[in-house]
């Protein structure tokens, strides 16, 4: 759910923005919310708050709405593990002379609204970037660096990412690996919270065993790595990252890594946004892919409930095959999302007693491991169904859902 928060006096602008976003974000609901009201409904993966403001003076109603949103959308702090207020917020300035948002969102850089298609498009893209981040397993952007050479650049990246509405986390490598600790397990758990790892790629960074392990863990867990390479070099100090074709080259001609110029920051931000946007766009293709796999094998495809992503596929034959599919946008280990589909099946079976093969299709970087499958299926007791990666569909469908190919 995307909500556009505004004062009653700005409702016309709010409605215009809602209309534009509804068209551009077909898979998400978009609504207006007036200041003073609390966020209603349970938190969803695609929640974001677009906040319209005209000056940088906050009133109680404004603060109350934002606080209620942030408290409902708590996120784990990567360092402490405690849950802290969070949620995606995108401030939009209605007056070009007052672009700094009021507290409590004064640290986030705003977009200035002028009603043009260009700005509307930029707003839509920013939201998709945030939704792309929401689709990654962790939500934090890790900034990995070696002290002392990378410290200033790392801090600047942190401040700027915070200002852009992200949740950065500074990750200084220890001077030496802890003795006796299970270092690999520690690093792997650590990396699980990361949506993206930004590597402050100073010349000496490859001397850090800790960062080397973080990079290996990031590759193993599909966490994208973006090396920010200062000082005129065009390749990473790490051999494994050298072949990584994403990089941000900054501070050419500068002998030491320091705060970025605005131009260099634009280079970094462009890389971050492009990556997250592509993640969002790829995940949204799951429905088209599922439809393609079924229709290519002779099924007729019918949309049952677009908002809940429910589809019906039928193959004529004796007996006919009927498959009720849910295209899952979430991670396939999200038990709440899986149980919601299970409940849908239970309710539907009471209303429409028709034999169907129930299927939940997901898309992520890898298929569920045996351990993950076992863990998930112990929660699905009311109405068991098949959980399949979109890349498993071809085999499953062509083998008539033979359990041997479901593994």
């Amino acid at each position: 759910m995307i909500r556009v928060l505004c004062e009653a006096s700005e409702i016309a602008t709010g409605d215009a923005i809602v209309a534009y976003l509804r068209e551009g974000l077909a898979a998400s609901a978009v609504e207006i919310q007036l200041t003073g009201s609390a966020w209603s409904g349970d938190p969803e993966w695609d929640d974001a708050l677009v906040v319209l403001f005209r000056d940088n003076v906050a009133n109680d109603a404004f603060v109350q709405s934002i606080d209620s949103y942030k408290n409902l959308h708590r996120v784990p702090d990567p360092q402490s593990g405690q849950s802290v207020p969070g949620g995606f917020i995108l401030p939009v300035a209605l007056d070009p002379a007052a672009t700094k948002p009021p507290p409590p969102i004064d640290l986030i850089k705003s977009l200035t609204w002028d009603g043009t298609a260009a700005v509307a498009s930029r707003l839509l893209e920013r939201l998709k970037v945030l939704l792309g981040l929401a689709l990654m397993r962790g939500h934090s952007i890790f900034i990995s660096y070696k002290q002392p050479t990378g410290a200033m650049l790392a801090q600047d990246l942190y401040d700027r990412l915070l200002g852009a509405g992200f949740a950065p986390w500074l990750d200084a490598a220890p001077h030496s690996l802890p003795v006796g600790a299970n270092v690999q397990a520690t690093i792997h758990r650590h990396i699980e919270s990361a949506a993206l790892l930004i590597l402050v790629d100073t010349e000496d960074v490859a001397q850090s065993d800790w960062i080397g392990e973080e990079i290996d863990a990031a590759y193993a867990q599909f966490v994208p790595i973006l090396p920010v390479i200062p000082g005129g070099r065009n390749t990473s100090s790490f051999i494994s990252v050298k072949s990584n074709e994403r990089r941000a080259l900054v501070q050419a001609g500068q002998p030491t890594a320091g705060p970025l110029s605005d131009q260099d920051w634009d280079v970094v931000l462009h890389e971050v946004e492009a990556l997250l946007l592509s993640c969002y766009q790829r995940r949204m293709r799951i429905i088209a892919h599922a439809e393609k796999e079924f229709t290519a094998q002779g099924y007729q495809w019918q949309v049952l409930d677009p908002r809940r992503r429910m589809y019906f596929a039928r193959l004529e034959g004796q007996p006919p095959m009927q498959v009720l599919s849910h295209c899952l946008i979430h991670e396939p280990t999200d038990i709440a999302a899986l149980k919601a589909y299970e409940q849908y099946l239970v309710d539907r079976s009471k209303a429409t007693p028709m034999p169907v093969t129930p299927l939940c299709v997901y898309d992520r970087n890898s298929i569920l491991s045996k351990y993950e499958r076992k863990n998930v299926h112990q929660f699905l007791v009311l109405y068991p169904y098949t959980l399949a990666h979109v890349n498993q569909l071809h085999t499953i469908i062509s083998n008539n859902f033979n359990p041997r190919f479901l593994t």
């Binding site: 270092v183 690999q184 065993d209 080397g212 392990e213 290996d216 863990a217 590759y219 193993a220 867990q221 599909f222 994208p224 051999i239 494994s240 990252v241 072949s243 990584n244 074709e245 994403r246 492009a274 990556l275 946007l277 592509s278 993640c279 790829r282 293709r285 088209a288 892919h289 393609k292 796999e293 898309d363 970087n365 890898s366 298929i367 491991s369 045996k370 351990y371 990666h389 979109v390 890349n391 498993q392 569909l393 071809h394 085999t395 062509s398 041997r404 190919f405 593994t407």
Partner: protein, 323 residues
């Protein structure tokens, strides 16, 4: 080789199939209109490896630094509980060692083989890196039934031949069926589609199936699934090329002693073998450059013969199967 019906009786659909995985993320300037080609390729590798392991297959890979941690993680997730090692990583000794911690993970979840050109021999080749990689590729190819190739560096600055095409060529010259995923671009696309069809001959692909893997489309995210389904469907066709390497295991230590100490098997490759392989590649590289698909077809109809070094040496495949 089991028929699909025999496989239906209970074994995993791809049990015993040894799949080589070749490739790399291409340079950014050749990504074209796919803004996240790097992510697509790593997703392909992760999803394909996961499904392959899950369905009983083995994977063999040439230790590319950006794919290796991912493949080890997949091996851990899908084979780790069984205690089996169905991932084999082959690397050239002269091209560097993994980190201490990487080696620890590799020893837990993968077999490793190191290919070695005997000391000083590398110097006789004009391009030592090429020679070392060729030796590694020969060892890799001796351990696989099929080869899947994706992406690959293009080397626009140096004009070096594409490593992924070299690997496929060496495999095809030894009768190993190849699957070039050209739809994701990279070094593979240095060969035109008609030449690539010759690389894919023997892979049991219908023309439209080849096109689906070779031509860029919005569905290319599904390539891993299509390929797995194809491997299952034609399971009885894979395997038994007969190419093997009989190598000398170095430093005078007995083989059993090396394994008992946990040492990684090192395969010393005869320089003549590497020189022959490089000579084989020359006409293939020229034909790729000129787009001469008929020449490539003729070259691939010849299979190399392996001459044993002498009696008494242990076959590499027997060594690796001895878990």
């Amino acid at each position: 080789m089991n028929t699909p019906d025999e496989l239906a009786e209970g074994s995993a659909p791809l049990a015993g199939l040894r799949i080589g995985l070749s490739g790399a993320v291409p340079e950014r300037e050749v990504w074209g209109d796919i803004q996240d080609l790097d992510r697509l390729i790593t997703r392909f590798v992760g999803q394909f490896a996961g499904m392959a392991f899950d369905l009983g297959a083995d994977i063999v890979h040439g230790s590319h630094p950006s794919f290796t941690p991912l493949l080890i993680e997949m091996a851990k997730q899908y084979c780790g509980e069984e205690g089996e090692k169905r991932l084999t990583l082959v690397r050239a000794e002269s091209l560097g060692e993994p980190s201490r911690y990487a080696r620890e993970r590799m020893s837990r979840y993968a077999n490793t083989t190191v290919s070695v050109l005997p000391g000083g021999v590398g110097m006789q080749f004009p391009n030592q890196r090429d020679a070392a990689l060729t030796a590694m590729r020969l060892v890799l190819i001796s351990q696989i039934d099929v080869l899947v190739a994706i992406g690959g560096k293009v080397h626009p600055d140096t004009g070096r031949p594409s490593g992924v095409l070299d690997e496929m060529a060496l495999a095809r010259l030894r009768g190993v069926p190849c699957f070039p995923i050209a739809a994701l671009g990279g070094g593979i696309q240095q060969a035109n589609p008609e030449v690539l069809r010759q690389f894919a001959a023997g892979a049991q692909l219908q023309p439209e199936e080849f096109d689906r893997l070779a031509v860029r489309s919005p569905d290319i995210d599904l390539a891993a699934g299509w390929l797995i389904a194809h491997l299952i469907k034609h399971r009885d066709k894979w395997g038994g090329t007969g190419f093997r390497i009989e190598g000398r295991f170095g430093h005078g230590m007995a083989l059993q002693t090396q394994r008992a100490r946990g040492n990684i098997p090192r395969v010393e490759i005869r320089p003549e073998m590497v020189a022959n392989a490089l000579q084989e590649l020359d006409p293939v590289r020229s034909a790729i450059k000129s787009g001469a698909a008929d020449v490539v077809a003729n070259l691939f109809t010849t299979r190399s013969e392996v001459e044993p070094i002498s009696s008494g040496f242990v076959e590499l495949q027997h060594l690796l199967l001895d878990r």
